[in-house]
C-alpha cells in the first residue's frame, strides 16, 4: 500500500526535486540529486608536489619493483633483507618504521628470503615450510578443535532443521557414477579396506533409512556418506551465513578480500554431476572463515604461492584447509548424533571424505 502511494505521487512529481530524505540530512545534500559544478581549485587536496618530501624517497620508490626481484632472485640481497629489513629499506631511502615492517609485503618478503624456507620450498617440503613460517610468526598455529567447537555450536542450535534436511535427501546414485567414485577414491594414496567402508556405510544406511538398500555395495555406501555430508554442509552453510551476520563473529566480506584460488583446469571436478545428489564438492574451505587464524594462514599461503610462483604451496594450503574443515564438520556431526558412528570408524570417514573432496577440487593432481 505504502509503495503504491509513493509511486502515484511519483508520477505527478516526475522530474521534480527529490522528496525523500525530508528529515535532516547528516552529511548534506548528495550531488546525485543536486548536481553542482565544483572547481578543481575549491577541492580539498594535499599536494605531494608541495610536501616536504626527502628527495631520496623518490629514488627509493623507483626501486620498489626491483626490490621484489632482488629479494626473490638475488641470494645476497635476499640474505641482507632477511637479516635486517630495517637497514635494507633505509639504505634505499624507504621508510623502515614499525608500520612499514608490519605491512603484508614486508612480512611475506622476509619469509621468502629466509634461507631455510627457500631450501624447503626448493624441495617442495611444504610441511617444513609451514612449520618454519609458524615459528617465524608468519602463520599462526591453529587448533582444529576451535573450528570444530564453533561448528558444533551451530549444529546444536539448529539440530531439528538439520535433521529434517537429512531426512529429505535422496541418495540414489547411478551405477556408472558409483564406479567412477570408487575409482576416484581407490586411486588415492590410502585405500580404505572393504571392511572399513562397509562398517562405515552400514551405520549410514541405518541412519538414513531404506533409501540406498537396493544398491548396498561398498561403493554406493561410500557415496551415501558423501551425500549425507553434502546435505549437512549445504544446510550448515546457510546457518553460518545467518550466524555470522547476527553475531558478527566474522565479517565475511571484509575477511575475504583476497582470492584463494586453485588455478588450472580440473576436468574431473564435475564428473559426478549434481543430478546424483552430489555437488562438485561439499567441502571447499568455506567453513575456515569461522576460524580467523586459519583464514589468515590460507590468505598468506596464497600470497606466498603467488610470490614464489609455487602452485604446490597453494595446493598444500588448500588441502590443509579442506582437511581442517572435514575434520571439524564430521567430528561435530558425530558429537551431536548427526553421524552416529563410533570413534573408531570416524577417522576413516574423515579420511575418505577428505580425499574425495580433494579430488573434486583437483587438489590431488598437483
Amino acid at each position: 500500500m505504502k509503495r503504491r502511494k509513493f509511486l502515484k505521487g511519483g508520477v505527478a512529481a516526475l522530474g521534480a526535486p527529490l522528496a525523500v530524505g525530508t528529515a535532516g540530512r547528516l552529511y548534506g545534500t548528495p550531488a546525485s540529486v543536486q548536481p553542482r559544478d565544483i572547481s578543481d581549485l575549491d577541492k580539498f587536496k594535499l599536494p605531494l608536489s608541495k610536501a616536504k618530501v626527502p628527495s631520496e624517497l623518490w629514488d627509493g620508490l623507483s626501486k620498489v619493483a626491483k626490490l621484489w626481484e632482488n629479494v626473490l632472485t638475488n641470494p645476497s640481497e635476499s640474505t641482507a633483507f632477511h637479516k635486517d629489513p630495517t637497514g635494507y629499506l633505509g639504505s634505499i631511502g624507504l621508510d623502515a618504521s614499525d608500520r612499514t615492517l608490519a605491512t603484508e609485503t614486508v612480512v611475506l618478503l622476509r619469509a621468502i628470503a629466509d634461507p631455510a624456507v627457500k631450501t624447503a620450498l626448493a624441495k617442495s617440503d611444504y610441511v617444513s615450510v609451514f612449520s618454519q613460517l609458524i615459528d617465524a610468526g608468519v602463520f599462526t598455529s591453529t587448533d582444529p578443535s576451535a573450528l570444530q567447537s564453533h561448528v558444533e555450536q551451530i549444529f546444536r542450535e539448529n539440530i531439528e532443521e538439520i535433521q529434517m534436511s537429512i531426512a529429505a535427501i535422496q541418495p540414489y546414485v547411478e551405477q556408472t557414477k558409483q564406479r567412477a567414485l570408487l575409482a576416484s577414491i581407490d586411486s588415492g594414496d590410502t585405500v580404505l579396506s572393504d571392511d572399513d567402508i562397509v562398517s562405515l556405510s552400514q551405520v549410514l544406511v541405518e541412519h538414513i533409512g531404506a533409501g540406498p538398500q537396493p544398491m548396498c555395495t561398498a561403493v554406493a555406501l561410500c557415496v551415501v556418506a558423501v551425500g549425507i555430508a553434502a546435505t549437512v554442509v549445504a544446510y550448515v552453510s546457510v546457518v553460518i551465513a545467518a550466524t555470522v551476520g547476527i553475531l558478527a563473529a566474522v565479517f565475511i566480506s571484509a575477511a575475504v578480500k583476497t582470492a584463494i584460488v586453485v588455478g588450472g583446469t580440473n576436468p574431473e571436478s564435475n564428473r559426478f554431476g549434481t543430478d546424483a545428489g552430489l555437488v562438485s564438492s561439499s567441502f571447499t574451505g568455506e567453513f575456515v572463515k569461522l576460524d580467523p587464524a586459519a583464514m589468515r594462514n590460507a590468505e598468506r599461503a596464497v600470497r606466498l604461492a603467488v610470490l614464489t610462483d609455487d602452485a604446490g604451496l597453494q595446493v598444500y594450503s588448500a588441502k590443509q584447509a579442506v582437511q581442517l574443515e572435514v575434520h571439524a564438520v564430521l567430528t561435530a556431526m558425530r558429537n551431536v548424533n548427526l553421524l552416529p558412528v563410533s570413534q573408531d570408524v570416524l577417522p576413516n570417514i574423515i579420511d575418505v571424505v577428505t580425499r574425495y573432496s580433494w579430488k573434486c577440487l583437483g587438489l590431488d593432481r598437483v
Binding site: K2, R3, F6, G10, A13, A19, V20, G21, A23, G24, R25, Y27, P30, S32, V33, I38, D40, K43, F44, K45, L46, P47, L48, S49, A51, L57, G60, L61, V64, A65, D95, T100, E104, A234, V238, A241, A242, V244, G245, I246, A248, F251, S253, A254, V256, K257, T258, A259, I260, V262, G263, T265, S269, G285, V306, L307, A321, V322, L361, G362
Partner: protein, 362 residues
Amino acid sequence: MDTLDALMERSFPHTLTILTTYQCTAACRQCCFESSPNVVGRLSRGQILERIHEAKDSFPGLRLVVFSGGEAFLLKEDLYVAVELATSLGLMTRIVTNGSWGKSADHAFATANRLKLSGLTEINISTGADHQEWVPITSVANAAFALTKSGISTLITVETDPAEANCLRDIVNHPVIRDALQTRLLKIQSNSWMPFNEDAQQRKMPNAHDSLEDGCSQIFETVVVTPHSNLSACCGLTLEHIPEMRLGHIDEASTMRDLYRSQIDDFLKYWIHVDGPYMIIKRLLGDDANGLLKGVVHICQACVILHQNQHVREALVERYSEFVTEIMTRFSLEAVRKQKELEHVPLPGKTVTALVSMEVEA
C-alpha cells in the same frame, strides 16, 4: 612523480564501476544517493559503451566492470548490450540490483536467461529492512533462484537489521532461497549499513570494528562513472557527499585517463588507500578523535567526516608532510604485491576451483 606515474600505470585501476542511473524502483529511507523513481536521468547506451571501450583502452590492469545505480535494470536492453560488450573485451562483469525484476518467477527466469546469454559473471542483490518496504522478499528469492539455476554466481547482501526486524534470518530461511543455495552458486552476507538522515533507526550491531581501521582499497583500484558523466575516485556510500571524490566531467577535453591521473598528486588519496579515513583521523587527532568517531559504523562515514570536518582538515594541512615517507613507502610496497596477485586472478573462460571466491566490494 614519474615513479608514481609508472607504478599507477602498471597497477591500477582494476575495476570500472558504471553507475548507470540514480533512478530506482525503490526509495529506501537511508539510500546514499537518495535514489527513487522520481530521480531522472541516466547514461545513454552510447555513453556506457564508449566508457567501457575507453576504460579498456586506458587501463591495462582493468579486470571487472560493475553495473550499478540506482537500479541498473531500468536500462532494460541497454544493460544486456553493455554486459555483452564488456564480456567480449575479456572483462568480468557484475550487476548490482535490488531484485525488483523477480516479481514473477517466469519473468525472473527470462531475465536470468538473458543475463546468462550476455555473459554476466556475477550479480549482487541488495535487500534488507529498508529495501523490503519497496521490493518484497519473494522478488529477491525468485531472482536468486532463477539466477543460480541459470548458472550465475549470486550474492545477496542484507542490510544490518534494525531491532524489530529479522530480514537476514527471513532470507536464510526462505524456502526458495534454500533451494537456490543447493546450487552452491548463492552466497548470503550481512553488509555494513550507515545512516544518512537524523531519523535513521538504530541497527542491531555494527560490523566488526577492525574493518573500520583498514585502508580503503576503492581509492585507485576502482574508477567510477556516474550518471552525470562524472568520473569518481571511489564507489563508496558517500561519494556524492564528498566533492573531492569527483575527479571531473568526462568529455572530449577530459578523458577518463587524464581525470584518473589527476589524483596522482593528491597525497590524501594515497593515505586513504593505505590507512583508511578512520585511522587517519585517529592518527592525526589521537584521543581527541574519540568524540568525532563515536557512533561511526562504516568506513565511508569516517571518510565524509575526514573531508567535511574543519578541525580535521586543518590538522591534515598542517601535518601531512610528516606522514609522506611512511605512507608512500607502504603504498608502493603493497601496490607491487597486489599487482603480482592480480596476475593470478582468473579470467572468464578459465576453469578454476575457488576455495574462497574473490569478492570485490562495489
